[in-house]
Structures are given as C-alpha cells and as structure tokens.
C-alpha cells in the first residue's frame, strides 16, 4: 500500500507491505537508517521518534498508521550542519560508545528537555529508563543530559 508521511518536515511517499513497521519503512524505504533496530519489540528505545510530537518506538507503529502524520527522526533534529544541543552534549560528555542506542536516546532526551528544561537526576533516570544502553552504564549519558539542559536553558 502507498503511504505519505511528513518526515523531518518533508513529504515522503512509500509503497509498503501492510505488515511493515514505521521503523522498517524509515530505514529501508526512505533512506533514514538513523532510527535503530535493536529489539523491534518496544523494549529498548533505540528506534525512538516523534510521531506528531509524541515520543514513540517506531518499531511498534505500523508504517500504515503513520500515513498522513508527521514524524521527526534523529536525522531531523539538527539544523543542517548545526548539531542539536543534545547531540553535541552526547559527543562532549563521552556518552557515545558503540552508539547503537544513541539516536534513540538523543530523540528521547530532546523530548525530555522540551517538556522539562531542568530535570532532576531522578527525573532523568526515570525518563530514560525505556532506553537501553549496553556500553556506557549510563553515567555519561546522564552527564550529557545535564550538559544539554544547561545549554538549552
């Protein structure tokens, strides 16, 4: 079936199989592999995107459900060559190792800081508890969130 989705501000059309997830459509049909395929069952947050401004796991949304909606992926967070402050903070704080969780975390943190510009440490931990990271032990991710929050403020 044909779908049309506004992805990162641009209208995109794709011909998808009915059973395909939004994640698969983004990665394999729209050339946007930034959203990651770590568990594909809504447990790890690696595929976090904004669907009409709501943080969702793209693996749990059918591509067909996104028809007519707006999606922002990690590729759409920065402005051209300018990194989003969250992206910059992740690099600076050493919050990136293998990086497979990073795109999902970056989207989740950007969303958190939109809602709560000065999150407490406990708020950060709770907000990111749906994003698994296997490399960092999260410490530098928390550092990155605090650094980004300072800059966004």
């Amino acid at each position: 079936m044909k779908i049309a989705v506004v992805v990162n501000g641009e209208r995109r059309e794709a011909d998808v199989w009915e059973g395909e997830s939004l994640l698969f459509a983004l990665r394999e049909r729209m050339g946007l592999p930034g959203s990651k395929n770590a568990c594909e069952q809504g447990e790890c947050g690696s595929c976090s995107v904004l669907l009409d401004g709501e943080l969702v796991c793209a693996c749990l949304v059918l591509a067909a459900q996104a028809d007519g909606h707006e999606v922002v992926t990690v590729e759409g967070l920065g402005r051209g060559e300018r990194l989003h402050p969250v992206q910059e903070a992740f690099v600076e704080a050493g919050a990136v190792q293998c990086g497979f969780c990073t795109p999902g975390l970056v989207v989740a943190v950007a969303d958190l800081l939109e809602r709560a510009p000065s999150p407490s440490d406990d708020e950060i931990r709770e907000a990111l508890s749906g994003n698994l990271c296997r490399c960092t032990g999260y410490a530098k991710i928390f550092d990155a969130v605090r650094l980004a929050a300072e800059r966004v403020r």
Partner: protein
C-alpha cells in the same frame, strides 16, 4: 554557550595525543544517525537472507525438503548443507560447527537452511515452508552428568592439541593446576559451592551484514565483527575460495563484548549472495540474536580456602565446571582462564585447581567480557569475605595481607614481572568515601525495586561490600597473535593509517589516531577503512588486548615510516609493520605449570566497593553507590577509560542481579529484552572511579587493556554488598528475590 538555545556547530574535533581526553572520532555521526552500522547497509538489487533454525536442542535430521519453499514468490535461493561448496564445518579455534546442519542438530537454534528473497517477510515465510523431518534425541542438558552420556562429538575435536588427555565423553577440555603442596593445611578453612548463570552479551546492534558478489567468483562481506581476518580465514574454506577472493570489511559495530568473535551471518550471507548472484543482506531480530551467538559459560564452582590466623592464605582448592554447550567456540581458553585466575590477585603458595568444560546440548558458550575470570572471581571473592568473617578480620585488610605484587608467583608458577599494583588499587578503592545512609520515607524511585516498591521502606536493609578482580591481558598459552599497521606518508604532509583493529565501541579508533599523531607529530592523520583488503591482521578486539596491540603496531609503523622517509630523503612512503607482545608458552598439560617464562602476557587488577540496599520483605534490590579503583597502566584517552569502567561495571551488576539465559531442555526460554533483563538507567548507581596509573613495562606507552577488569570484579562486589545487607549465603548469580527474602 547557552542563552540562544542552539549551540554552535561542533563538526570539528579537538585533535588529541596519547594521554589526552579526546572526543570520539565517530561521535558526531553516531549522534546524527549518519554512522552506518552493519544493519544499515543497502545495495542495488539487494535480497534479504533468512536462516531456518532448529526447534530442537538435539535431533537427528531425517530429511530436508526445500521444494515447497522454492515456489514462494520473490524467493531466489533456498540452501542447505548440500549447497556448501567447501568445508562443511568452521570454528573459531576448532572446526566443529556445521555451516548448515547435516545429520543432526546439537542445539536449539542451530542453522539448518537459508533463504534469500526480495522482501524479508517473503524470506521468513519461505523458510517456514522448508520441511525438515527431525527425530528428536535426548538432549544432554546437565553439565554435571555430561560425561555419562554418549559423546555429542565422537570426533573429539578439541583433544590432542597439547591439552591434558581426557577420554571421558563430552569433555571439551579439562586441566589441573597443581602448585606447591595442595594438601597444605591452615589454621582455618572455609568452603563454598557457587553457581553462575548463563549471561548474554546483549549488544544492541543485532548480527547483520551485507554480502556482495564481485562478479568474478569472489565476495565482499560488510559485517560487524571483532576480528576481520579470522572471519576471512573461516569463511574462505567454506566457500571453497582462496582468501584473496573473500574480502571482509568492518561495518559499524553495535557492541560486541565477545559475542562477535564467532561467525554469525558471514558464511550464510556469502553463500546466498554467490548462489543468487545478488547482494544479500541479513539482519537478525532480537530473538534470533539471542540464539545466534554464544553466551557466557554457566559455572558450578566448589572452593576451599585455607589460611593461617594472621590471614595469610595457605592453600586454595577449587573445582570448576563450565558448560560449553554444543560447540567449542573459545571454550578451551575460557577453561584455562577460569583456572589461571581462580585464586584472585593473591599470593598463595599451594593450590589445586581443576577446571573442566563439557559439551552439552545447551546453547554454545564462548567469549564474553571477563572470559572465565568473572565466574571464578565471584567464587573466590565470596570465599575471601567468608575467610575474613571466620578470622574476625576486616575484609579489606585480609585482601591487603595477601595482595599479589611484582615478583610474586602465580599458581601456574609464573612470576609476575610487569606492573601489578594490587595493594595500591585496594587501598585507593577502600579510601573512597561511602555515601551516608538515606533517610526514610523517601521517593519510591530511590527504594529497592524503585516504583515497584509499594512500601514505606520498612524492610530496607543496607550493606557495604568489597571485591577485587584479576585478569590477564592479551591472548595466552602460546597463542602468539600479532597486530599489523600500515602507514602512508604523503608528500604534502598528510598521513594515512591502515589497521584492521575492530572498532566495537571501545574507542580503538581514537587510540590509533592518538598514537599516530603522537608519533608523527602532526594532526593531519586519517584512518583508512578497516578491511582485510589493505592490511594484515590486527588480531581480535578482545581479551583486553586491542589498545595495547594496536598502539604497538601503529607506533612501530609510524616510526618505520619516518625512518624510511629520512633514508630516502623525502617523498611518499608506505610501510607496514607487525607488532608482537612478549611470547607465551603453553601450560604443562598435567600440572598446569608454565613451560617457559610465562603463559600469560600481563595482568590487570580492579577493586570495587559497593553500597546496596535490599528489601527483605519484597526481595527487591537497589545498588546505591559504586566506588572503584582500577589498574589501567596508562590511560591513552581518560574519558574513554572511565566509560569502559562504568559500562563494564554495569554488565557485572547485570549478572549479579538480573541477567540469565534460561533454558528448558536446552531451549532458550527468554530470548527477548522483555524476559532477559539488562540494567536500565534506573538500575545503575553513580560510579566513582579512580585510575591507578602504573605503566606496564612491556606495553607501548605503558598501556593496559581496561575493558574487562570492571566486569570481572563488579558481580562479586555487588553480591558482597547484598550478603552484607541480608546475611544470606547468596552463592548463585543472578541473585533471586527468594534469596533476598530468605526463603
């Protein structure tokens, strides 16, 4: 910064030399989504590969009928073992594992057939229509009784390689370390039986890759792996191709932790691609990933520690049983490592350590961060706590009294010649201030179990634990691997470095560039793509060896390139150099004693103090704080070293509290992140880490690998704190709620 809401572009990176904290070279593309992981690749005309796997842990294959699957629309290839043109088996160290099962299947999830189709769903559906007739056999699932069963591998692949001869059925390797007088008695003796569950690497990037036929009979494989050249050396014989026609290129690696040492889709993807004459992409889903790679060996360990009243260890006796699962992978080395570090970083004159690994029909086990030392550290450190209690001595003091130092002799007879600041590491860790107890009532998020705790904390108890972890660096027992690096200096002053060291997230790319900038005294250095096509082997990104080996190779190649340019009086130069660590020799197969100067290259030690809370009514836990000091030789990139310590600690905490592959008659019952839990942001406490820099004399710049020691020590340290909080024995990890409650 700040104020405007959007910060300045950070597309350029500060250029660092050895010893400076340096942002990751790949950091920006990894945050923007541009970094290409192995599952992100595409090629024109690409097909999707899928693997049909065994639903049985042990069965005879009566017949495989692919005719129905071939009729599924979109299908371009359906392959079985009959389509493997070369060697039918492969393996990291012993070729005991079929590319595709023939005759029988030996574990749940063993690959049986392959499909390539235009859409991944077509491939999955076609695979469902392959008719495999199995005759189920009784699976060997109890490691303790494996030697009573018929051999799973009558060929005894691992026997006769210089190991102790052990004709018992299903013994993969057995070894004995006999040192001094194993019957020596002390004033006190403590014993225990410990168990470690099967842990999974649970890297987030699933096994995946792209195989592209080159049109001349050869193939290019883009894959996430830990050792490009050893992959090639296994893949080429199976494809019946010369090595030159199989080029393996490193695609982005989404974590490894040992789980990418063995092949996953490499041969399968290449077979499909060559058969269909189209590029083929394969991407495991999470369930397939859990069955598609090896795990950490489950262990059952019986230990006895004997000591005198003054706390000095007299004798350590340990019996270690490891479940290797259905294929050998790196089990023989894990068996040896478990034995070699069983006594921990303590001087003990007498020891008897028996370590046995058996084949079973459980999931195959192999390398995972810590590699045998995790299991024995858990037992040995529990024993040290028990001994301290029996002696009425402070647990830290007991460890200091026995701390291994340069000049001391290990149970293998090897004298420690390099850096090993055990006492310093213990002292520095013990000095870290422990946070004061938190008052009740408090936000449930800060109670054991977090939001799941519905009490006011009436059952909360707090405990402080301590442990020390010990492991070798680099490969051992005569496996004298090497690392190559190639350096090109151009006339305009640019330099290009080639090194096949796998960047798995640990940051070796930065290490290579920092070394090259330091040696060449220029910032104008680029790293060429990691591939088998342009440079010799780098060896494996494992065994805490890659920083040491890559630094050595790049240093040597840079120096040779500068010399060559000097000799020629300028112009472009291109040199490749091989670096080797000090040679090791095997352990004596009967006594486990060294046969030369050393069986292990070098050592590293880490101490850890943990504050934990438990809820003794609900069985819930909360790790409050972790302090650690680690022997790091010299930190090439301190920020990355702290990152390794924090991340490695999280994996050990996971094993202590929640991580276990559960099997029922050999079948994995929890192959998902819903049922196999790894630590989340709510589970990890702050980690205060101290780097103890005592340069390793045999290593370039004095570096030591830093990835494994935190994982080795943290399981033991977390459980030590839980014991202090509960007073329970807690002899098995992961610790279950029932044991916290005391049921």
């Amino acid at each position: 910064m700040g104020g405007g809401g959007v910060s300045a572009p950070a597309r350029t990176l500060p250029l660092g030399r050895v010893g400076e904290s340096l942002r990751r070279v790949d950091g920006i593309p990894k945050t923007t989504g541009e970094f290409a992981y192995s599952s992100d690749l595409q090629a024109a005309g690409m097909l999707w590969g899928h693997t049909l796997r065994s639903p049985h842990a042990h069965a005879r294959i009566v017949e495989i009928d692919i005719s129905d699957a071939l009729t599924v629309p979109g299908v371009h290839a359906v392959l079985t073992h009959e389509d493997v043109p070369g060697a039918k088996r492969y393996g990291l160290e012993f070729a005991d594992q079929p590319v595709l099962a023939f005759g029988c299947v030996r574990y749940f999830g063993e690959p049986v057939a392959l499909v390539a189709a235009e859409h991944p769903e077509q491939a999955r559906r076609a695979a469902e229509r392959i008719r495999v007739e199995y005759e189920p056999l009784v699976p060997v699932v109890d490691a303790e009784r494996a030697i009573e069963h018929d051999p799973i591998h009558p060929e005894q692949w691992t026997q006769g390689h210089g190991y102790r001869s052990d004709p018992r059925p299903n013994v993969l390797r057995s070894m004995v370390i006999r040192h001094g007088d194993p019957d020596a008695e002390g004033d006190v003796s403590v014993t225990g039986v410990y168990e470690v569950g099967m842990q999974d690497q649970a890297f987030l990037g699933p096994e995946s890759g792209l195989a592209v036929p080159d049109g001349e009979g050869g193939v290019d494989i883009y894959v996430a792996t830990q050792w490009l050249h050893v992959d090639r050396d296994q893949v080429a014989p199976c494809l019946n191709l010369p090595k030159e026609q199989v080029r393996i290129h490193l695609a982005g690696v989404g974590g490894a932790f040992g789980g990418r040492e063995d092949l996953s889709m490499q041969v399968h993807g290449a077979l499909l691609a060559l058969h269909a004459d189209r590029p083929v992409k394969m991407v495991y889903n999470r369930e397939e990933s859990f069955v598609g790679h090896i795990h950490r060996h489950p262990a059952r360990i019986t230990a006895e520690h004997r000591a005198n009243r003054d706390g000095k260890l007299v004798c350590v006796r340990m019996h270690i049983l490891l479940d290797g699962g259905a294929y050998a992978s790196s089990s023989t080395a894990v068996t040896s490592n478990a034995a070699s570090f069983a006594a921990g970083p303590y001087a003990v004159a007498n020891a008897l350590i028996e370590s046995t690994c058996v084949y079973t029909n459980n999931p195959p086990c192999g390398a995972m961060r810590g590699f045998g030392a995790v299991q024995t550290c858990f037992a040995a450190e529990a024993q040290m706590d028990k001994l301290a209690a029996a002696l009425g001595m402070d647990a830290v003091e007991l460890r200091l009294r026995n701390a291994l130092a340069p000049g001391d002799v290990l149970p293998t007879g090897q004298r420690v010649t390099g850096s090993l600041p055990t006492a310093e590491v213990i002292r520095r860790c013990a000095e870290l201030p422990v946070p004061p107890p938190e008052e009740l009532p408090r936000d449930p998020l800060r109670l054991p179990g977090g939001a799941g705790n519905t009490t006011r904390g009436e059952g909360v108890r707090r405990g402080v634990g301590f442990a020390v972890g010990f492991k070798n660096l680099c490969y051992s027992e005569g496996f004298d691997d090497y690392c190559a690096a190639r350096v090109r200096l151009f006339e305009d002053g640019r330099a290009e470095v080639h090194c096949a060291a796998a960047e798995v997230g640990q940051g070796v790319t930065n290490v290579i560039l920092q070394v090259a900038r330091t040696e060449l005294d220029t910032d104008d250095v680029v790293l060429a793509p990691h591939t088998t096509a342009s440079v010799d082997s780098a060896g494996s990104a494992s065994a805490s060896r890659m920083t040491w080996m890559a630094a050595g190779a790049v240093q040597a190649a840079c120096r040779a390139a500068l010399e060559e340019r000097e000799r020629r009086g300028g112009g472009e130069v291109d040199v490749e150099r091989i670096y080797r660590h000090p040679r090791t020799t095997p352990l004596d197969p009967e006594t486990g004693q060294i046969t030369g100067e050393r069986a292990h290259v070098a050592f590293a030690v880490a101490a850890m103090r943990v504050v934990a809370e438990v809820d003794v009514e609900l069985g819930l836990t909360r790790v409050v704080w972790i302090g650690t000091a680690q022997d790091v030789g010299r930190a090439v990139n301190p920020q990355a070293v702290y990152g390794q310590i924090e991340g490695g600690t999280a994996q050990g905490l996971g094993l202590a509290l929640m991580e276990e592959i559960q099997t029922r008659e050999g079948r994995i019952a929890n192959a998902s992140f819903t049922d196999y839990l790894i630590p989340t942001a709510l589970d990890m406490p702050p980690v205060d880490a101290v780097l103890v820099e005592d340069p390793e004399p045999d290593a370039p710049y004095g570096v030591k690998g830093v990835g494994e020691p935190p994982t080795v020590v943290s399981t033991a340290a977390v459980v030590s704190a839980l014991r202090a909080a509960t007073g329970g024995e807690l002899a098995r990890v992961p610790v279950k709620a029932d044991e916290i409650v005391g049921l």
